[in-house]
């Protein structure tokens, strides 16, 4: 299926890392992904990405040329690149029911990672519990990730502004009513 975006190469309860199918095809930061593991369908939010050399040891080298020139002159260097992205686990579905918490077992390696469908995103983001996972993202970029996830999710709701306000209220409580932090998050959720 064309929704395939990567394959799990590292897995923890709270987080997994996948290698992107191509070095230049990464899911958007803060977007929703899914992994089918047996009869569990686990959902995550993309929390970061990294592109580097294939062997993971040597470094890419600067050529000071445009990408188009490089593709013409040095096509082989792109073959040596790989991209991986990490995702925070937000919940899972079993027998058609969504649970907004970690699955009983962490994901197996080498499972395919796919983009989540629109209505899946709607369901997942309805449960505002995912905000707690993004806020405490192991990568330490919680506020940025939360803003991105809200931005992503809001688009799937009929009244995005209303959704953002609802999410904001939930966040404020999670932030122990620290309006300053809430402000810094909401400022990154600019909806036109």
């Amino acid at each position: 299926m064309h929704t395939l975006i990567g394959e799990i190469i590292e897995s923890r309860t709270a987080e997994f890392v996948a290698e992107a199918i191509r070095y230049d095809q990464v899911p958007a930061y803060g977007s929703f992904v899914r992994v089918q593991d047996g009869n569990l369908r686990v959902y995550g939010i993309v929390s970061g990405a990294y592109t580097g050399s294939l062997d993971g040891v040597s470094k890419a080298k600067a050529f000071f040329k445009s990408i188009d020139e490089l593709k013409m002159e040095q096509p082989q260097i792109f073959e040596l690149l790989r991209t991986e992205f990490s995702c925070v686990v937000v919940g899972y579905a079993e027998d058609g029911r969504y649970h907004p918490y970690y699955p009983p077992i962490h994901l197996s390696l080498h499972l395919p990672v796919e983009k989540a469908d629109d209505d899946e995103i709607l369901t997942i983001s309805q449960h505002l519990g995912f905000l707690e996972k993004t806020l405490n993202s192991p990568a330490g970029n919680g506020e940025e990730l939360t803003a991105a996830a809200i931005r992503m999710a809001a688009r799937f709701h009929p009244d995005p502004r209303e959704y953002i306000i609802r999410a904001g209220r939930e966040l404020l409580k999670m932030l122990n009513y620290d309006t300053q932090r809430l402000k810094s998050i909401l400022e990154r959720v600019d909806i036109a």
Partner: protein, 556 residues
């Protein structure tokens, strides 16, 4: 108004967090609301409002440039809070009404009261439940006063000048008269209750008096027949006060008006002792020699006697005080009352405090004596008319201030409650001038806007949760809003009072079955015939002799 119980205590009231989306600006202090607890409904009143931040820092951050943020924070980080005071509780299981002895549990839902709640607490309008107004923002839903309870005790109507005391008094008088539960006697200082009064309202201009509404159920007595006539009123009786009915107590009551010094009291006692019942007129008729002679005989101070006499001459300027009045006003009043009628005594131009206090005190003292005798007879098993009497006095602080209230008849009536079937309806704009002990004896208080701290304090004295009601009192509208508290209502309630207008006239003159009852009794004669405890005497019906009297007095 919708919200949930946030916190609170039995002693300090409850705090309600308004639901997101509710507009606190629309929630008025004084609003009647209901807390739906787990097993009880708590009927409460909004007494205060404020804004609270879960984290006080939130207040100080400029939020205004981000509308999204403002909207999120409003209702979450910063909440609109309404303070309510539960006044009465009803157990849902059996509908039992109880005083508040517990508080609703956390997160209980709070909502505005509905029609059925108002009826549950205050009853539906009927003969003894009188519709006086509506809860705030619930126009057309009647709040009733239990008239039976109302007349069991003395009551007060208070409020700053111009807040509608006279109108509330009219409304209450209408309710009482219509119910037939009692008779009323109004000492009508400004002649506004009998036939007609002023109305500041541009279109109405005039307010109908009781006579216009209740016809033969009401008699107008006057102290100033000419003024009555000039206003187109045909009084039923002209009141004259004999000198001999003026007692030491009366003089003491008006000592400020007469500008008497403290020694006057002793002089009165000497005079009374030596001159007997006619002391006043005899004394007033003494010339300088007679006074000297009297002083020599009795050892009284001649100078003091002279000074006292000069001051008492002010009484001679009151035209209604007579040596030998044509008729006895008290007997007349009693006759009317016994025939089931109500009496309004107009003062006409005699509206000085001196005239008002003197007359009210003299008449009330004697009337009260008669009621005392009656109830003693009734106790002895004798039948008689024992319809309660409600006496209306204005400027009540003049009669009931702390110095006088123990000595005057009004203080006594206020204190003894309904023992003798006589109670007061006191009307005053300065309740702080009234003896606190008397105030605390009042059964029901109807209080319009008061702004003086000490007035507020004094009307709330002895009221449960007084502290809570303070705000409510101070934020009433300047007109047609009042808080009713006490014996005749199960819980204090803020009402928009009924408007005294054509609609009211129609409703109050309508019988329960829809017919008009005014004029059913065509005159006092018939009234006498139909009343149970009518006087035994075969006197001509009172009212007849008005023409005669006018002839006698003015030669017309």
């Amino acid at each position: 108004m919708r919200g949930t119980i946030l916190r609170g205590s039995l002693s300090g009231g409850l705090e309600v967090r308004l639901d997101i989306g509710e507009n606190i600006e629309e929630v008025k202090v004084g609003t009647f609301c209901v807390v739906e607890g787990r097993t009880h409904d708590f009927f409460s009143m909004v007494v205060d409002e404020d804004i609270e931040a879960a984290n006080p820092k939130a207040f100080y951050e400029t939020l205004s440039d981000n509308s999204l943020l403002n909207e999120v924070v409003r209702g979450t980080g910063i909440i609109d809070k309404v303070k309510i005071q539960p006044m009465i509780a009803i157990r849902r299981e059996d509908g039992k009404v109880q005083p508040v002895k517990s508080i609703p549990s956390y997160l209980s839902r709070v909502r505005e009261a509905r029609e059925e709640d108002v009826f549950k607490i205050f009853g539906r309008p009927d003969r003894t439940h009188f519709h006086v107004g509506s809860p705030l923002d619930m126009d057309h839903i009647p709040v009733c006063i239990d008239l039976k309870k109302f007349i069991e005790r003395s009551n007060g109507i208070f409020g700053k000048s111009g807040t509608g005391k006279t109108f509330y008094t009219r409304i209450m008088l209408c309710g009482m008269i219509k119910s037939g539960l009692c008779n009323v006697l109004v000492f009508d200082m400004h002649s506004e209750y009998g036939w007609e009064g002023e109305d500041e309202d541009e279109t109405r201009k005039k307010a109908k008096g009781l006579k216009q509404l209740f016809g033969s159920k009401v008699a107008i007595f006057t102290l100033d027949p000419e003024s009555s006539r000039n206003r187109g009123v045909h009084p039923d009786f002209v009141v004259e006060i004999p000198y001999r009915s003026i007692e030491a107590e009366d003089i003491i009551l008006v000592r400020e008006e007469l500008n008497l010094n403290p020694t006057a009291l002793e002089v009165i006692y000497v005079l009374q002792k030596h001159l007997g019942q006619d002391w006043l007129i005899t004394f007033l008729n003494m010339d300088a020699f007679a006074i000297k002679d009297f002083a020599d005989r009795t050892g009284a101070h001649e100078g003091a006697l002279q000074a006292f006499q000069r001051k008492l001459f002010q009484l001679q300027r009151l035209p209604f005080i007579k040596e030998n009045p044509a008729d006895d006003a008290v007997e007349r009043i009693m006759q009317y009352l016994d025939s089931g009628m109500n009496v309004v005594l107009e003062f006409g131009h005699q509206r000085s405090m001196l005239a008002y206090m003197l007359v009210a005190n003299i008449l009330t003292r004697r009337i009260h004596e008669l009621y005392v005798k009656r109830s003693e007879k009734a106790l002895g098993g004798m039948q008689g008319n024992n319809t309660p009497l409600v006496i209306v006095i204005e400027e009540a602080h003049k009669f009931l201030n702390p110095e006088l209230s123990r000595q005057t008849i009004f203080g006594m009536i206020a204190r003894e409650m309904r023992k003798y079937n006589v109670t007061l309806l006191v009307v005053d704009q300065r309740p702080s001038g009234i003896d606190p002990e008397v105030l605390s004896q009042l059964g029901t208080k109807i209080v319009a806007l008061l702004t003086e701290e000490k007035d507020i304090e004094s009307v709330l004295c002895g009221v449960n949760n007084a502290r809570m009601l303070r705000n409510v009192l101070a934020s009433l509208d300047t007109k047609q809003q009042a808080i009713i508290m006490g014996h005749a209502v199960p819980m204090p309630v803020v009402i928009k009072t009924r408007t005294y207008d054509e609609t009211f006239y129609k409703e109050i003159t309508k019988d329960e079955d829809g017919t008009f009852n005014r004029g059913l009794m065509s005159g006092p004669k018939q009234a006498f015939g139909s009343s149970a405890g009518a006087s035994e005497t075969d006197e001509p019906p009172p009212g007849k002799e008005f023409e005669d009297l006018m002839k006698e007095l003015y030669g017309i």
